[in-house]
Amino acid sequence: MMREALGVVELLVFPGFLFLSWLALYFEWVDRKFYAKLQYRYGPLYTGPKGFLQPFADFVKLLAKEDIVPAAVDRFLFTLTPILMLALAFYALFYVPIVPMVRNVAFGAFEGDLILVIFVLTMVGFLKFLAGWGSTNRFSAVGAVRTAFQLLGYEIPLAVVLLTAGMGAGTLNISLIAQKVASNGILASALLPALAISIVCFQAELERIPFDIPEAEQEIVAGWLTEFSGRRLALFRFATDLELTLAAALTAALFLGGPYGPAIPLIPVQVSYFLWFMFKTTVIVMVLANIRALFARLRIDQMVHFSWRHLLIAAVAEAIFIQVLLAAGVIA
C-alpha cells in the first residue's frame, strides 16, 4: 500500500509532472540567462529573483491570450499537434532516470525503453512537420519541409550514437545503461566522443542555432510556428522546453551516468541523485546554450551535408570503436 502511494507521488509530484514542469521552466531560464551572459547582456532580470519566473510569466501570458484559428488551417492538425507534442515529451521523460525514488530506476523503465524514446524523439520532429503543414501558410509550409529535411539529417546519427551507449553497456534499458556508465570509468571515457556527437544532434533536434533553419526568423517569419498563437503557442513552447529537458536528461543518463554517481557522504542517496542529476543536466544545457551563442545559422544543404558526411561517419566510427573495445575485453 505504502509502495503504491509512493508510486502515485512519483508519477504526479516528484519526479513526475510537477517536478518535470518546474525542470522545463528552469532549463529555459538557464538557457536564456547563460546565452545572455555570453553576449554581455543580463537576460531576464526583474521577473522573480534573477528573472527566474520569466518562463512562467511567458507561459501564463500566452495561455491568457486570444487563440486565433485562421480560416484556412486544418483544424484537426492545428488542435492535435500542440497537445500531442506536449504529451509525447512528458511521456518520454518517464523512461529517463531523473531522481529514482521507489525502484532504483526510472518510473517506467523496462528493457528496450531506449528504442521507445528514440521513436518518440522522431515523432516529435514529425509532429513539427505536421503542425507547419496543417497551418497552410507559405512560411509554415517552408518551415515544415525544412523540419522534415533536417530530420533526415540528424536522426540517423543520433539513433546510432544513442544505441552505441546501449551496446557498450550491454542493455537497452536507459536506467541500467546509466548505472553501468556511472560505475565503469573506462566505458564512460570511451563514450565521450558519442557525448559530443549526441549534443550536436540534439542541438539540431531542438532546432537551435546553428540548426534553427526551420524557424529562421529573418527568412520565414517563425517557420512552422508562424500561425500559432495564444494557448497553442504556449503548449508548443512548453513542449520545446520539455524536449530540452529530455535532451539534457537523456544525454546525461546515457553518457554521463545521469543521477547515478559517486555517493556524497552524510546525505541520503536520493538527495545525491538529485544533486548529480541537476549538476550534469545544467552543464549540458549550458553547453547547448554556448553552441547557440557561438555559431551562425547554416543553410539547409550545409546542415544535411554536414550530418551525412561527418556526423554519421563519426557516429558509426564510435560504434565500431565500442565494439572493438568490447571484443578486446577492455570494457568489462
Partner: protein
C-alpha cells in the same frame, strides 16, 4: 487572484513586433539598439518576435505610406488580443517631415488605434523604453 496573475504575466512578458511603415531607418536603428546588449530589454522580459501571431506590442516606425496601409491593418488584425501599439518617432505620431505629402497618412493613428506615442527624430533608446514603461503602467492601472 487568477486575474492578478494574468495581469502580472502580461506586464512581465511584453513581446514586440517591429513594423516599419515607411520609416527612413533611423527609428529602426534605435529600436534595434533597445534590443541589443547595451540596453537589453530582455531584462524586462521583452523579446522580438517575427510573427504577429506571437506578439503583444506592435512597435511601428514611419508615417504609414498609402502602399503599406493595407499591410499594416492586416498585421494589426493578425495579432491576438490583448494587443497594444507603440508609435515610435515623429513620423509615426504626426507624419513628421512628410506631413502633407500626397503619399502618406500622417501618422499611425489615422489607420489603427495607438496606445503610446514616442516623439523624437529619431527618439533615443531610453525614450523608447520609457514609452514601453508608460504602456505597461497603463496596463497596471487598468482594472
Amino acid at each position: 487572484m487568477g486575474l492578478g496573475l494574468v495581469k502580472w504575466s502580461r506586464i512581465k512578458s511584453p513581446w514586440i513586433l517591429h513594423f516599419n511603415s515607411g520609416a527612413c531607418n533611423a527609428c529602426d536603428i534605435e529600436v534595434l539598439a533597445v534590443l541589443t546588449p547595451r540596453f537589453d530589454v530582455e531584462r524586462f522580459g521583452m523579446l522580438l518576435k517575427g510573427s504577429p501571431r506571437h506578439a503583444d506590442i506592435i512597435v511601428i516606425t514611419g508615417s504609414v505610406t498609402r502602399q503599406i496601409r493595407d499591410r499594416l491593418v492586416r498585421i494589426y488584425e493578425q495579432t491576438p488580443e490583448p494587443k497594444f501599439v507603440l508609435a515610435v518617432g515623429n513620423c509615426a505620431g504626426t507624419g513628421g517631415v512628410f506631413q502633407q505629402c500626397y503619399n502618406v497618412y500622417e501618422g499611425v493613428d489615422k489607420v489603427i488605434p495607438v496606445d503610446v506615442y514616442v516623439p523624437g527624430c529619431p527618439p533615443r533608446p531610453e525614450a523608447i523604453i520609457h514609452g514601453v514603461v508608460k504602456l505597461l503602467q497603463k496596463l497596471q492601472e487598468a482594472s
